[in-house]
Symmetry: C2
Subunit: 302 residues, 2 copies
């Protein structure tokens, strides 16, 4: 196993339920269906890459509880290398309950768990031999900064999935080559609702490319040469948007590995995310490479 | 093990999280704490009785999943006999996610699972030798009706916890000796918001006593001789009301076993429920007999 991509960050256990309507306070809502599945931004991006045929490694931490076992099993089933997925004795794993309504909208309740993520000692220079890209999220900030520094020294490309702005993240941004952030993060970052303005502010930190994902409105990107472009979302019947951003990141990293130009990379990532929305759960409907390629070919021929 | 009380009905796995405020649609709420614990109306009533020193047996069904294992373990830890807790191959267990806010109010999302509950063949006359009371809820209606018929033949007292009105329950009501229902059930049953009127309508089915629980407003009861009385709730700092009704039923059944008059039984049940609200989870703060007796003694001396 020589992973091309390593991901350091969140891995969670998602408990997803489909609900007719949300309950009032002190009321009950019966779920039509229930699904227990691994989740988390970095972990699900790696699963996406694995389905696309890329060898990947997860660097993360789980507790020594049942949820942690399920998280690990879920990743191993998807052929994600878990050598650096640490099980912390006495700690609890990250878990999320996600209520999805008939229109695919969600309420997410999540607990970060108590398993602390540290950059493993074994995650040294020699471990970067095969790794071309390091994928990060912003929750375990100190570990992410340490890993990004190591990556930079080894000329490993860094990608950041930033969903929520957290204080201290400014220290991570200069270490990132590809910033792919949520609309929420972008607006929190510049304190106003203007994704294009956020692109410019974020690009100051030196990334080669910055993208803001906009849900059903697609995304807007800025390349290092100052070229701004928008990608519309593909129209699909949405069952559940859980993990859409995570899968987008997986598709984006796939494009980087192919050395595709940014528009082609973003277009491919957008298609991956569209496939994902067809079923309940962040990972259920992640496509294979054949599926995405076939879809994009058909779409272009329309 | 010669159980004095058998309970047939729901046993669930509760995943409880404390939340600052409820998330907007398509937003996330981070949970301050997370607790995984067994729940379910009948199962938690039996746990209450076990803590009070009564020998009890659970008749129910779980799936052969991790949640089912946890449900069983939780009951065994509380000394609930699980000889008749069936594990159904290939089925999923009942599970609930409960978001509790800072004021102790809740949103409940639950899935009934696919494990079908049948009256076990072994649950025949000879099994009633030691059983004096059968406790039921309304979800697994056919099984509840069959069990209540068997109980009636054997002069076993039947108690029903009815939280939500479901069609067909009218067939169960004539088989019940003690009806202890929620305000929601009472209002659904008579199609108007009048618990006292509901008492009278429900008493027509022949129960020896009917009680409607009213949350912070206490409860109102009607005995077979037509005596109506109200019991106020004890004032406590509420952390979580999950399982309050279940624990009330446990305390009520304890009173029946002592042959206490109805007002004393309801007062004891009310105290048990008050104790329960002090901590997150339906079972965490269920009191021992010494605790309830001490509390009631102190309260009366005030």
């Amino acid at each position: 196993m020589n992973p091309q991509v390593a991901g350091l960050g969140q891995c969670s256990l998602d408990i997803l339920g489909q609900v007719g309507c949300y309950p009032e306070l002190d009321q009950k809502a019966e779920l039509n269906s229930l699904l227990v599945q691994g989740g988390g931004p970095v972990a699900t991006a790696l699963v996406t890459l694995a389905r696309l045929g890329v060898s990947v490694r997860m660097i993360g931490a789980v507790g020594d509880d049942d949820f942690g076992l399920k998280i690990r099993q879920g990743l191993l089933t998807e052929k994600v290398d878990c050598t650096h997925l640490v099980q912390v004795p006495g700690a609890s794993s990250q878990v999320a309950f996600i209520a999805v309504d008939a229109d695919g909208h969600r309420n997410i309740f999540w607990h970060r768990g108590t398993a602390q993520l540290a950059v493993p000692k074994t995650f040294q220079a020699e471990n970067f031999e095969s790794v071309r890209i390091l994928h990060l999220d912003g929750l375990h900030l100190e570990s992410a900064i340490a890993a990004a520094r190591l990556a930079q020294e080894q000329k490993v490309i860094t990608v950041l999935d930033a969903g929520t702005f957290r204080s201290g993240m400014e220290a991570l941004l200069p270490l990132i080559d590809h910033l792919v952030v949520s609309e929420k993060f972008a607006c929190q970052f510049i304190k106003r609702d203007d994704p294009e303005a956020a692109l410019k502010c974020l690009s100051v930190y030196g990334a080669r490319a910055v993208t803001v994902t906009l849900g059903t409105a697609g995304s807007v990107s800025l390349s290092a040469d100052g070229f701004v472009f928008r990608q519309t979302a593909f129209r699909v019947k949405v069952v559940d948007t859980t993990g859409c951003g995570d899968v987008f990141h997986g598709g984006y990293i796939y494009g980087l590995l192919q050395n595709w130009p940014l528009p082609k990379t973003v277009r491919f990532a957008t298609a991956c995310a569209a496939f994902k929305t067809r079923a309940l759960g962040g990972r259920t409907a992640i496509p294979t490479l054949t599926e995405v390629e076939g879809f994009l070919k058909d779409y272009e021929e329309c």
